[in-house]
């Protein structure tokens, strides 16, 4: 499975309060959450983001609250993948559980700039920056996790007999 998209580039410690401010958490509606995605960090994100785009950030992406609304808002915005130097652990878990692919790759993060076109191959873990021509190797998802992502998350995966 491969995705390709334009990069939105952010820094260290992007927290769940800027990904989806708590003032919008009075709903569980995915489309409504996406309308406010990244609002307090990058107010233009929601208008600029296109299906397939990629978020690249530095260390500790998704720190803070356990709100699953954060990866939900990102996924619902059309983002195909988040690449960061590191992720906060609850965000990491939540992203996998809802089927949002996320990759840790400090080397790729050092190379990738805002607006770059990046291609990610989930089966090999290879990240390619079209602008620089550089490729980077991240830890590929094991087959079960690729399947889980394709099913759209843990619940569907379990329902289809994914965990015996």
């Amino acid at each position: 499975m491969r995705v390709s998209g334009t990069v939105f580039r952010y820094g260290d410690n992007v927290d769940t309060d800027v990904i989806i401010p708590a003032r919008y958490l009075n709903t569980s509606n995915h489309a409504e959450l996406a309308l406010h995605c990244m609002e307090d960090l990058d107010a233009t994100f929601k208008d600029k983001v296109r299906k397939g785009d990629i978020i690249v950030a530095d260390a500790n992406f998704g720190c803070g609250s356990s709100r699953e609304h954060a990866p939900i808002a990102i996924k619902e915005s059309g983002v195909s993948c988040v690449i960061a130097r590191s992720f906060a652990r609850i965000f990491y878990r939540n992203s996998i559980n809802i089927g949002l692919p996320i990759l840790e790759c400090p080397e790729a993060c050092a190379d990738i700039k805002a607006g770059d076109t990046v291609v990610v191959d989930f089966s090999t873990g290879v990240i390619t920056n079209k602008r620089s021509g550089n490729t980077f190797q991240s830890e590929p998802f094991p087959p079960f996790m690729q399947e889980l992502i394709q099913e759209g998350g843990l619940a569907n995966y379990v329902a289809k007999g994914g965990i015996a």
Binding site: S28, A88, R89, R93, A155
Partner: protein
């Protein structure tokens, strides 16, 4: 210690860091923000009902008493789900308290137990020697359906505590000091394990506060050894026999930090990260608009007593709104009976019913553009308490109370006691 608890819960003799395990859960928690998402997911797991109707806690505490129609609909979904599945531990407004103060008080968490909660501050219960960690809504739904959760066994950081806290210094200052030392990802994916002769000098409320903010260092959990203080608390609150686990003498740690409690000063975290800390004597002149005393971090009775000791006979500065949030109904009543409300109200503070409200910018104390708050809560991210251009300074109840009096961030030792 964490590894031993997880080994037991996974039915194994031992586990090692990095190992993936499936563990039995003693409690699954959700609130009015996270539970509705879990409830929507629940049917997808294909189970008719929950794994154990006594081992799930649903606490509508974030936007309650319902702040608007949408919030009311969310709580209604929780109430309906609790009714449909006969969930015993659903706490309606009137019995509700802030989840991480309420659950230990109700005896729902005991030593050596394994708890997941769809709230990042679930790690609070490590104060009682349990393994408790925050998860998301899908994990909560899966936990409600199966009574199990998968974990990657964390490696551990050891914090060896010595000495005793100085006057007006409390658990909040200890954890802010530690986060300042190791950073907001200093314990990423790891367990923060406390030990040493200094532990006995920390009250159970101090320990709740310290364990509560483990997540602010990126940790999976924070955990204290079980001692006489813990057993005393559990004897009063929890009917189950404590499961006591101790760290081995030769346990492996990724790093060991020596923390002398007597050397810690009142500590303030400046915007916009909990690790952006300064000791109180290096704060400088910071004028404030609001003070919040409460939350799952600092809304317990000893927190309110510390604030009251500073505020007694004083007045809140005329340009400051001082808001007090006892964390549970029991704490509220206790504070009332002890005369703390009289002190607060005479000083010009507003006392609220329990809610998480202002901590996350939900309701009951939102900041306007450019406003600053000193808050005993746990996060000071951009926009956390309101406008994206407002600021939150994290501090202890004593510092918050002293700051309310002067209108500037203030060392409580400079306030003369009445």
């Amino acid at each position: 210690m964490t590894q031993k608890i997880l080994a037991k819960a996974a039915g194994k003799a031992s586990v090692r860091a990095g190992e993936l395990i499936m563990a039995d859960l003693d409690l699954v928690l959700g609130n009015d923000i996270t539970a509705p998402v879990a409830i929507n997911e629940f049917p997808k797991f294909g189970k008719e009902t929950v794994f154990d109707r006594e081992k799930i806690a649903l606490v509508p505490d974030h936007f309650t008493p319902n702040k608007d129609i949408k919030a009311a609909e969310q709580v209604k979904a929780m109430r309906t789900f609790a009714g449909d599945h006969g969930i015993v531990n659903y706490f309606e407004v009137g019995q509700m308290g802030i989840e991480h103060a309420l659950l230990p008080e109700k005896g729902l968490v005991g030593a050596g137990e394994v708890v997941i909660g769809a709230d990042s501050h679930t790690c609070t219960y490590g104060a009682l020697g349990s393994f408790a960690t925050g998860v998301g809504s899908t994990d909560m739904a899966s936990g409600m359906a199966t009574g199990k959760a998968w974990f990657k066994v964390p490696s551990a950081l050891k914090f060896n505590l010595t000495g005793k806290l100085n006057r007006h210094v409390s658990g909040k200052d200890v954890i802010l000091h530690i986060i300042g030392l190791i950073g907001v990802d200093g314990a990423l994916y790891q367990s923060m394990e406390y030990s040493g002769e200094g532990v006995k000098n920390l009250s159970i409320d101090d320990r709740f506060t310290i364990a509560n903010m483990a997540i602010e260092a990126g940790a999976k959990n924070g955990i204290f050894p079980v001692d006489e203080v813990t057993l005393g608390y559990l004897a009063e609150h929890c009917p189950r026999t404590p499961r006591i686990f101790e760290a081995d003498e030769d346990a492996e740690y990724e790093a060991v930090y020596e923390i002398d409690l007597s050397a810690i000063k009142s500590t303030v975290a400046f915007p916009h990260l909990p690790s952006n800390t300064r000791p109180i004597d290096e704060v400088g002149e910071v004028k404030i608009d609001q003070v919040v005393i409460g939350s799952c971090t600092n809304g317990r009775i000893s927190d309110l007593r510390q604030a009251a000791a500073v505020l007694k006979g004083k007045k809140v500065a005329p340009w400051v709104r001082a808001l007090i949030f006892p964390a549970t109904q029991k704490i509220w009543k206790q504070a009332m009976n002890e005369g703390l409300f009289e002190i607060f109200v005479d000083a010009g503070c507003a006392v609220s019913t329990p809610t998480c409200g202002p901590c996350l910018g939900g309701h009951m104390g939102i900041l306007a553009e450019g406003e600053r708050a000193v808050s005993t809560t746990n996060r000071n991210f951009v926009g956390r308490m309101g406008h994206p251009k407002s600021e939150v300074y994290l501090a202890s109840p004593a510092v918050a109370a002293a700051s309310a009096v002067t209108g500037y961030i203030t060392d409580p030792n400079t306030i003369e006691e009445a």
